[in-house]
Symmetry: C2
Subunit: 351 residues, 2 copies
């Protein structure tokens, strides 16, 4: 355990998780996954944490909920109503906390100046250029980026803290199978169509798992290739399903077409010992060490070549890198340093 | 002018208008119309008012804007981003005001408890049962209803203040024409199809004006009847267009199928001397005096009978009733009384 310069027991932290899904999510939901991992990691180290999340969330922290279920999981929940009620709730209780750690999108920023409690925002992604005016207005807040590549200019970043995964969920597997794996949202951004192409050219089976976020894309560019033999689609999977996939996989194909912000699944696959072939866009080169935990590629041809070179990768090296850089412990170390900075800055600001 | 028990010059009021449209709107936009009328009415009486609205708004108050144009008027404006930036802005400046008068929807309520300045919310309508949890949470706020009929149980209503219109915009016309008029959103709630039926049965021309809010409804239930002779659709109209319509009209048909919340257009028509035939739902019986300023009906047959009885209506009586109950002056009287109540209540709360 690292040394702490904060008397953790004296500080009260509110973690604001999104309410699109349960925290942690049952299947898809990267932001809720990270918010959960931060929360549980802090609790394990003795921090006094209150998690603001859906009422069906699972946590060892104190749970504060005003929304019963994730709005993506229950059509009775109105997203706009849920968001306003949920976000305002943590700010109304701001006096009870020494720090609000927001994993919410830009919306939470707009309450920040109305409370005295400092607010740290982990930016999990800029969903659209249209939201940037909000970040610009509140650029003097405290921000953390989840990769060096996913940064907007002008924001007051205190650090990059890589997302950490719960390694116990993805046990290391000494050997894998022969299949290629795609694990992610079915959306053009994620390059499912490229993974299909690579699998065909490599003469290997591709197993696709994930929620269909773009139905038209699925119908046009994915579904026609599905044949239960060479290209299979198994729908969204939870942790158990991911581990089954990792057992069958020789490599994870992550051929994103836009810059990746972090890529949790890359770390999850590596933790299980599965090498990753990732498009060299955005954060992928920060998560995957080329030639050591997988390969960074620029196109389909390079991907096919990378599939041939999979045997060069030492599966244990994949795990080692995750343990070192992308574990909950490493992430919580990072956030403890950031919290410390904030408490120091606030103490100077309000002597 | 009524007597004031408030030293208006010492009190600073922020009026929060929506940013769907400009304030006042060019054509459609009832909430922005009322927010504008309240603002200009207060300014005319010497109040220190800051209007929070789109940057292209027109006002004699101080204008505070962070959104360039209404999100319904400019597709470059992201509604969610605009709303969060706009609403938070007034609350961040709360210390500069003695009262925030919100004409916004439920969203503004969620910032209310983070500031000391009292917030009065004029509820212009409950758009969906799904937003009610927000009103329930903040039910101890200060609320005004715009009609006796449009009230939710449990809210701390201080008064009903009827919407007031700018009578100078709709000059009285001694005589009208022979046409029937429909003026409103093209939406099933507004009963355009019923107006068409009544016009056909009455053997009178119907002129329809308004934005098409429900395209499918327009195509199925309105467009097939349009023939430029008996049923005309002229699109949305501004003030000048409304007055032209009022000149041609023997009556306004307002056969809403759900309870009306207030019905600005009823008062506008009456101001111009045009009788109104209105479905007896919601606030219509508060705005229209049966047999005096128009007729309250329950179905198409009664509407057709009412058209026959139009000559019984004294057009000047229509104007008189608007002058008495639905003018800007009457509305501002009402709000001054409510402001006074709030200042008294706040003084007792914080001695």
């Amino acid at each position: 355990m690292p040394s702490h310069n904060i008397a953790t027991s004296q500080k009260r932290v509110a973690v604001l998780s999104p309410v699109a899904w349960r925290t942690p999510p049952r299947q898809y939901g990267a932001w809720e996954t990270v918010a959960s991992n931060v929360t549980e990691g802090l609790v394990a180290r003795g921090w006094d944490v209150t998690l603001f999340a859906t009422r069906d969330s699972v946590t060892r922290a104190q749970l504060h909920a005003v929304v019963d279920k994730g709005y993506e999981e229950d059509s009775n929940v109105n997203p706009k109503v849920a968001e306003y009620l949920h976000i305002s709730e943590v700010f109304e209780g701001a006096g009870d906390f020494d720090l609000i750690h927001s994993h919410y999108d830009f919306m939470a920023l707009t309450y920040m100046r109305l409370v005295k409690t400092p607010v740290l925002t982990t930016v999990h992604g800029f969903s659209s250029p249209k939201i940037m005016p909000v970040y610009q207005k509140y650029s003097d807040g405290y921000f953390v980026s989840i990769s060096e590549s996913d940064r907007a200019s002008g924001l007051n970043y205190l650090a990059t803290v890589y997302n950490g995964i719960d390694l116990s969920l993805y046990p290391f597997q000494e050997s894998g199978g022969d299949d290629l794996i795609f694990l992610g949202r079915i959306h053009p951004d994620k390059g499912v169509h490229l993974a299909i192409e690579v699998a065909c050219l490599s003469g290997r089976r591709l197993i696709i798992a994930g929620i269909i976020q773009d139905q038209a894309y699925f119908q046009k560019q994915v579904e026609p290739h599905i044949d239960a033999q060479n290209v299979c689609y198994i729908g969204p999977v939870g942790v158990a399903g991911k581990n089954e996939l990792f057992a069958r996989g020789c490599a994870l194909l992550h051929l994103n077409t836009i810059p990746e912000r972090f890529g949790l699944v890359l770390a999850e696959a590596n933790a299980a010992g599965v090498p990753v072939i990732a498009m060299d866009l955005g954060s992928c080169r920060e998560v995957i060490k080329h030639g050591q935990t997988g390969f960074l590629v620029n196109n389909v041809i390079e991907s096919v070549e990378a599939v041939e070179r999979i045997p060069e990768i030492d599966r244990r090296a994949c795990l080692n890198r995750v343990q070192q850089h992308f574990s909950i412990e490493t992430m919580v170390d990072g956030y403890e340093r950031v919290y410390s900075m904030i408490f120091d800055l606030e103490a100077k600001r309000r002597p």
